[in-house]
Each structure stands twice: as structure tokens, then as C-alpha cells.
Symmetry: C2
Subunit: 216 residues, 2 copies
């Protein structure tokens, strides 16, 4: 019945990843507050001391998970942006949506992420993503200014506004009708064009494409 405590030793790196994997999974299932460190160690089969040998606190585990999850999205966005052969509009929308995690590996987390138990996780991820992606978008806007596609006096703040809005608003389109989602997407495209000083419908198609494709 009871597993004998066969001592298994792994490299620090390996164990840390193991802990993060299980913790992430558990936070998805039960939320950050409800998932206990006991849950983690039981599922892995290690002792309390081991967990705290690798991480100083439960919150540090959370931070590491956030770091791991966001790094992927940010580096993806920064890669997209460098593809100068692709039209700016496509790159812009793709970068924006890299933040919107749904497509990524973390897509199952996404549904749970708004439950109140995950307020911390949500906040930290959002902070991290904004901080990472805003400068990328800003650069793209400047590029658009140079080519005459955009006309933005405050590229940084425009990027902030677009990112912040899309990260909050597109958070909760799960409980919206398809019709409403379309409207929201159109409104977003319209407003983004205004903010960037772009001609009407410059962004519309690129944005609507992504929205309709990822939300079926």
C-alpha cells in the first residue's frame, strides 16, 4: 500500500523541472490557492524537505512557472517581428496574439486562469507579458511610421494601450456569442487603426483572420 521511500537522486535541474511540471498541472486543476505543496510532493513522491531544498517558497514556484510560460510567448513574438519579408500588419497582429496565450502550450491553463484562486498567477503573467511584448510592438510601430503606413506620435503608449486592452478584453470571450466576438474584433481593429493613425481597414483583415481562426 505504502510506497517504500526508495531514495532517488536526480540533478537539481531535472528535479526542479519535475516540480514545475507537476505544480503547473496542479495549479491548472485546482488553482494556485487550492493546490497545496503537499499535493505537489505527494504526486511526485518526494519529501517536504526536498521541495524546499529547490524552492524557497510556494510563491517562488509560481514565479518560475510564470517565467517559463511567458518566455515562450515573448520569444515567439520577437521572432515574428524580425521577419521583414512579412507585411507589417501581419507581423503586428501575430505579435499581439502571441500574448493571447490560447494558441500556445498553456491553452488548458487559460480556462482556469480567471478563477479567483488564480488572481496572482493571472496578474503576474500579465505583468510579465506586457513588459516583454510592449517594446516589441513599439518597435514595429516605429517601423510602420517610417514606411508611412502608420502615423503615431506616441508609439510606446499606443503599444501599451493596444496590448493592455487586448489582454484584458480577449480574456473573456469564452462566454460570448460568436456574433459578439466578431463585433468585438471589428471594434478592436477599428480602434487600433485610429490609435496608430493608419488608413481605414489597414489592420482589419489581419486581425479578423486570427480571431476567427483561433476561436471556433
Amino acid at each position: 500500500m505504502k510506497e517504500k521511500s526508495m531514495r532517488v537522486v536526480k540533478s537539481a535541474q531535472e528535479r526542479k523541472n519535475e516540480i514545475l511540471d507537476v505544480a503547473e498541472q496542479l495549479f491548472e486543476e485546482k488553482g494556485f490557492d487550492n493546490a497545496s505543496t503537499n499535493d505537489i510532493i505527494n504526486r511526485i513522491g518526494i519529501a517536504r524537505g526536498t521541495l524546499y531544498h529547490h524552492f524557497a517558497s510556494k510563491e517562488e514556484i509560481l514565479d518560475a512557472i510564470v517565467e517559463r510560460m511567458t518566455r515562450e510567448g515573448i520569444s515567439k513574438a520577437s521572432l515574428i517581428v524580425k521577419e521583414r519579408s512579412v507585411p507589417i500588419c501581419e507581423r503586428l497582429t501575430a505579435a499581439i496574439m502571441a500574448l493571447n496565450i490560447k494558441g500556445g502550450a498553456a491553452s488548458e491553463v487559460f480556462d482556469q486562469i480567471h478563477r479567483p484562486q488564480n488572481a496572482l498567477l493571472h496578474q503576474k503573467m500579465q505583468e510579465r507579458l506586457l513588459e516583454g511584448v510592449v517594446p516589441i510592438i513599439e518597435g514595429l510601430i516605429r517601423e510602420g511610421n517610417e514606411t508611412g503606413l502608420f502615423d503615431s506620435e506616441y508609439p510606446r503608449e499606443a503599444a501599451e494601450m493596444i496590448m493592455i486592452y487586448s489582454s484584458v478584453a480577449f480574456d473573456e470571450l469564452t462566454n460570448l456569442s460568436n456574433e459578439d466576438i466578431l463585433k468585438k474584433g471589428q471594434a478592436f481593429a477599428y480602434h487600433a487603426e485610429k490609435l496608430l493613425g493608419a488608413k481605414e481597414n489597414t489592420l482589419k483583415d489581419a486581425i479578423m483572420n486570427i480571431i476567427t481562426s483561433q476561436n471556433r
Copy 2:
């Protein structure tokens, strides 16, 4: 040394408010997670059972506090908006800033509100405020559309975008230099004008007034 447990009975309403007052104070001081229900009952001088007689859980206390704090801001905003003698621009900016709690009674909370321990509080307040204020702003935009001051195709979404941005961005201007704050304010005014389809500098003065006055 030890207070005798003289039994003091108060009306439910009175006791509830007492609990909310102390809890709010404690959440400010230590954050929601770090403030325990024991802290609350000790400071008031009541027993555990009494607390749980009035509130079913710690989170319910939080919800009641959020409700209390936001009700004020929302009703203030809705009053402002009704003053049809005041120019629309002034009403708009005033309503926007009613959400930015700094001016209100909760101004001390504000500094603590971003500490990670308060993620839940923060999230709940933001949700509640947006939900309450967005329709108000939307109405104002429609009014502006009629008088020809604005030209907004999606009043609802424009209101959302403005509110969401200002609630996130103006959150953390405490650690910014005065210069940066000014720039941020100007950028916000500029972008709000674009979003609403208003003429240049329509909103600038009203917005800059509020920002410079409330942040000294």
C-alpha cells in the same frame, strides 16, 4: 492584561460594518493573504464564532469591502455624468478618474493594492469598477456623438478601451518621474481623442488638469 470577555451585543448591521472597517484597515496594512481572520477578531475583540456568524468566509468579507469601495466611485461617476450643464469633456474626464480611486476615501489602500498579496482584491475591484463605469462612459460618448463633438462608431468598445487602459496604466505612476507622468497624460489625451474621433486637443486640457492636480 487579558480583557475579560464581557459580552457586548450589537445589531447585525453595526457589527458587520465594524468587521468591514477593521478588515479593510488590516488588508491595507498587511495585504489580503497575510491578514488573518484572527487579526480581525483580535483587533475588534470578538470571538471566531461571531465573525463567522456574520460572514460565511474570509472571501465574503473581501467581496463586501470591494462592494462598499466601488459603490461610492460608481455612484459618484453616474452623478457627474448627469450634470448636463457641464461640458461633456469635463464630465468624461471626471468620470474616468472616479475609477482611479486615488482621490476617494480609499486612497491609502491604493499604495498597497499592487502588492502581490492583494492580487485578488485588485482584480475584483477592477472588474467591479469596469462593469459599473463602462456603461456610464458609453452613454457620454453617445451624447458626444449627437452633439457632433465625437465621432465614434463603437461607443461601448471605445469606453472599454479607455477605462481599461487608464485603470492599468495609471495604476503605477507612483514610481514615475513627474516628466514621465506628464508625457503619459499627454499620450493618453491624444489617444483618447483619436479613439473618440474628436478634434485635436478637445480633451487635452481637461485631462491634464486632473492628472497634474491629483498627483503632486
